[in-house]
Symmetry: D2
């Protein structure tokens, strides 16, 4: 029913995370109602994104401006002895919001579900190994999701970094805010019991 | 935490229907990983949308190609005596899928919640009145959502079109596929009883 | 972990509709906290239910009091020429609430998914046939859920009652209150189009 | 619409946890279909509950059989130096399932949201104080839900037990199994960072 141009844009939007064909169609009809100027603003913002935004040479976070390091890696107040490894850039935001972390980050770029070479190549494991070797680094926090894939990746990285003899930690497991014991899974509750204080 | 360029694009995506700032951020990080060529494909598809896609002179549906009428209004097999009024273009799709409608459409462009002039100006009521006056038009189906706003718009249009002395109908109310009587509201069930056959 | 008496009651409550073992356990712990008098009130209400409550000889609705007919079947103001067939007693409530139905009811006692004899025996098809034969009955409304099972039962009953040459109707299909065209299924929308008025 | 006996039982079932009038009605209609024997089984199980089931003199857990202590408090293999305080009996189950706890329990019987006397009387704070005074008790784990009410109760109990100079602990906070950093609240993530190991 859709014309070719609309069809094409629906296909492209359908590749966006969380977007299915129905939502993609709604995006297209929304754009049909946006004035020309708004369209230009959007397309130039999308084009500029890749031109203006660089990835940090140390942690792979996106940033704008001069130099090769992002604003966090450049910040003299950040503690260079700590590296917090996250799966993706967006995971840094809740950690920054806690205001309880003052170290550096490292964006792994994904997780692995097998130990196959092709799988491992997709994450920045080699780069992490290299960063961890730096003498100033004392602790690497593997802040990966407590999911099956996050667990598998965590185990792989622990083994990879072990020979460096640095402190390798993982996030504490336990009951989150608002949880109810009655519905807690055994593993989480077991960790909450062991981690009591 | 986000750089200005990312911030800007998050703001623009947040205006998309159903998209909040968190999803908008995911879109931006997704785009940061799309190769240059993909970015160009997307921006040109967005730009072309407004240049290639026109709105039909009769029904306001979007279409591409020559002429001033969309492929439905141009189709000699469609029944010109019937106009089905929908709130927005996307509502035409499920109707076309029923394969039970062979008339024309008219996209109202919105609904009204008050009878204030500014409110009424937002919908294409005048244009609908004009189309309905055409001698070949015998019935106007007001296919608006059975919601409070849809109802209000329906009442307004019924009064507007009444002097033309044409058949003005609305969609049948009743139980949808998969419904359970036990949970049906009284109004719907009342309509289902009255509309029994 | 539970003691035998608690275990047993959890098992019995787990047979209640919509109740799983976890909710059943919550019921038991709730009862452990109810004073003796409250327990006696509950058990006597449950026991009395079956002793005091009878099923109507005509429509199978539950009722209390003298005679063999429920308060609806006894009511001289109800229209005896109309029978509304529902799957279960609870389905009568939303119909009564519409205040648009003044006929009698008939509780089928279930639905069928196959035409196997054992399946058909579970519903009161024979009894319905007999009631429908009464000369005063002019219309039978098959008010079954528009679900797969409801449809199958409806088709079976239509065929069963057809030889009697009475009016057999079903509830009108269409869009329920609050629905949105955009998300309507084709069958429902097709019915809503056909049932326009 | 319902007869008095049904109405009464709906009211009684509506007091059950998680049960509203609609579900209560379904329970009643379910019972109307249960054979006499099943009804007798249910009412005697409910009556026996209060007669056969006792509350443990130490931890207030329900149990059957001889003596004044439940099977856990009686069990010589359980570690008498540890008391795990839970809000309600059902909270013991996931803890037992972890198989990581071998101490005793104490069922508080509720939580408090204010420090008003009437509020505090509803929980077994005095009894807990007494149990904690026993010389063999070395640690009290306050295993309350990490909710606002659980927190308030926890603070109250910590202050109450403090003068006894025993180890008072609370469950570890952190990310539960299956959580995603991206959606974690700041307090939980802050605890997960501090509790890293």
């Amino acid at each position: 029913m859709y014309s070719p141009q609309i069809r094409k844009l629906i296909d492209l939007f359908s590749k966006f995370p969380t977007v299915g064909p129905r939502t993609a169609a709604r995006f297209v009809f929304y754009l049909l109602g946006v004035p020309k100027e708004g369209i230009r603003e959007l397309t130039s913002a999308v084009s500029n994104l890749r031109e203006k935004v660089k990835l940090c040479n140390f942690c792979f976070k996106s940033f704008e401006g001069e130099g090769e390091l992002c604003e966090i890696c450049r910040d003299p107040r950040r503690d260079k002895s700590l590296i917090c490894v996250v799966e993706k850039e967006i995971d840094m935001i809740p950690i920054e919001k806690t205001k309880k972390y003052q170290g550096l980050y490292f964006i792994l770029g994904g997780t692995i579900s097998t130990l196959k070479k092709e799988d491992i190549k997709k994450i920045k494991a080699e780069e992490l190994l290299e960063r961890t070797k730096k003498p100033e680094v004392k602790e690497v926090i593997l802040a990966l999701n407590p999911t099956t894939e996050g667990e598998a990746t965590l185990l792989y990285l622990e083994r990879l970094l072990k020979p460096l003899n640095k402190k390798i930690t993982r996030l504490g497991r336990g009951l989150p805010l608002g949880a109810e014991l009655e519905y807690a899974d055994e593993e989480t509750l077991g960790s909450a019991l062991e981690g009591r204080k």
